[in-house]
Symmetry: C2
DNA sequence: CAGTTTCCCGAAAACGTTTTTGAAAATGTG
DNA sequence: CACATTTTCAAAAACGTTTTCGGGAAACTG
């Protein structure tokens, strides 16, 4: 099979401990023997077994990316993938091992977060997709293993949160619509009791009130963040309220925007000529629709990178647990038309 | 910390070996002691350390998903993600551990596939995104660790390949266009020396010849599978050949179809009224464009599932290395118009 | 040059499991 | 009841590393 540390030791005429010291750049070894061992190691194409390393070593360079609901949600491939890319980017740059774990409710009930870490000798994790109904949501609070959640507020000694200022971002997005002259705006909402929904709602209402506008209850269309529900909701909306002068649809996600545009086109309306539509998230689909969708880019890849970064710093004791708010960016594409106020 | 097997052994008044036997359902243990041990284990919330398990155990339940070029290619989030989902699906169903490794050229030069397996105690891997210029492309041939490649033909004792019949599929797609009355068809091609390009080209030409049609060299637009290149190429094409009666664009990927449609719309043409367009792959974007793109669905999630399945069977000695050709499916959406022949 | 310090490195314990070996206990057989 | 067989389990080796401990050699000190 492949050479082990024993083989290298024998070939170099030293003890295994010395080989270990040579491989890991420890100080207490003479330059000469280190050279020789490194040479022999290269000769034998020796690669340390990371499993043994992980078992033996006190401090681990393994971090995890934990995904909840990965197999259930079929729609959002872009989000998780960009997040992964960000994490892997950081891991590669800092020579970390990263392992991915998809968890569902059953798995969460079976083993705690700490147990999962223990199972795999993991120093900490970036956790994505956690719902407030997930068992981990509560139990993380008392975790002794550090972790970083994405876009979900969990309090706890060892838990950080990386997110955007969704309130401000949505406020900005709403303000943009208003600046373009829109006064009667319908809101295509996400899941009623989701945290993100509440934040975005707050942003929308803030912007409207600041401009002396109201958001009538009838102008709120609730969905579960599903495109089809947005389509159905919007179709019904224009049947019932089509004559009331609404000029824009403010959607809580890009997917909802896609559904909204579909419904509008299905009803023979043009976007943005007849109705303006904006989305939220910045997933890559927004560039491929017609028209391209004006949205707020959360830059999820950076989020992944910064989450891994923060996790690493927590593990190393460089930074304490904290909330990190990353910048967002209004991406103006083609789905909004300026109207006369 | 968390309870180890020692703790369980002590609490149950037996040796660690016995605990191991109880946990793994070995036969040589009395039902009574097994019961008792399992109870104690649950009591202590014992979870075996998988790292130690992997190190100690002869046969491993760890498989890997190896992704080449994951961080480089920014465009195709859908493909890798669906593949992952398929693999994880199988892994969860069969209680396997799965680890994901992103490799680039540097990493491939640094360590061989076998070394990578050895490092992580991996029994075998599903490999995706391998280019014929990748170092692993050749070295896999002699690997003693089983592996399954996706959509790339590598010969070798222990390497399987899961793919679609791209020639037949593309032939079918082309035939569909012809059946709809199209006679003058332009081909939006992928990277010139890629294996997939050659296969699809073959399929296209087969179908055309069978119907007594020709594919003029000027009607072939080469790209590197990039949307922008397709846009540019098609824009130029209709400037130069717009008057020659071409009615359809046959694209080697969905992304190219998106680029093609973009260019056509940019030039004031309608799809499918003025030009029909078809894509290939079945990524989810095809459902979100306007019009929705008629394409061939490769069902990449199944591919991932079946690849993991085959890998598992190879490891267990149930199936030998082999090539697996999965069914594809023509997905008729809205980007093709019937014309009078 | 004797005593101290520093530098190297070998030996062995440790990480948490599985697996092999062998022996005691239980059961079966005639 | 003596012997053979089977069942059950304890003890210890093994997996491939890291890390601790300690000691001899070399290098300083006065």
């Amino acid at each position: 099979m492949t050479a082990t540390i024993q083989d290298v030791a024998k070939a170099a005429g030293v003890s295994v401990g010395t080989v270990s010291r040579a491989m890991n750049n420890y100080p207490d070894i003479s330059a000469k023997t280190r050279e020789r061992i490194l040479e022999v190691a290269k000769e034998l194409q020796y690669r340390p077994n990371l499993v043994a390393k992980s078992l033996s070593s006190k401090h681990s360079r393994n971090i995890a990316l934990i995904l909840s609901g990965f197999l259930e949600d079929v729609m959002f491939n872009d989000f998780e993938t960009m997040l992964m890319k960000g994490c892997y980017q950081f891991a590669i740059e800092h020579d970390l091992e990263i392992s991915m774990h998809v968890i569902n409710t059953r798995i969460q009930e079976e083993k705690s977060y700490e147990q999962l870490c223990y199972e795999h000798n993991i120093a900490g994790a970036v956790i994505f997709g956690l719902k407030n109904t997930d068992p981990y949501f509560k139990s993380l609070e008392e975790s002794r293993k550090p972790c970083v959640t994405i876009d979900v507020e969990v309090s706890g000694e060892n838990v950080s949160n990386v997110t955007n200022d969704h309130v401000a971002a949505f406020e900005e997005l709403t303000q943009y619509l208003i600046d373009q002259g829109h006064r009667n705006i319908a809101l295509v909402c996400g899941r009623k009791n989701a945290a993100v929904t509440a934040q975005r709602m707050e942003g929308a209402v803030n912007a409207m009130h600041r401009n002396g506008l109201e958001l009538p209850k009838e102008y709120i269309i609730y969905t579960n963040f599903l495109k089809e529900e947005a389509s159905a909701g919007v179709a019904e909306f224009i049947r019932e309220h089509g004559k009331e002068g609404v000029t824009a649809f403010l959607c809580m996600s890009d997917m909802l925007a896609v559904g909204t545009i579909e419904a509008l086109k299905g009803a023979g309306r043009r976007v943005p000529e007849d109705y303006s539509v904006v989305g939220y998230d910045g997933i890559y689909v927004t560039e491929y629709t017609d028209p391209k969708i004006t949205t707020v880019d959360q830059n999820i890849k950076d989020k992944g990178y910064e989450a891994a970064h923060l996790l690493y710093d927590m593990i190393e004791g460089i930074r304490p647990a904290q909330d990190l708010i990353l910048p967002h960016k209004l991406e103006i594409r083609g789905s909004v038309k300026k109207v006369d106020a």
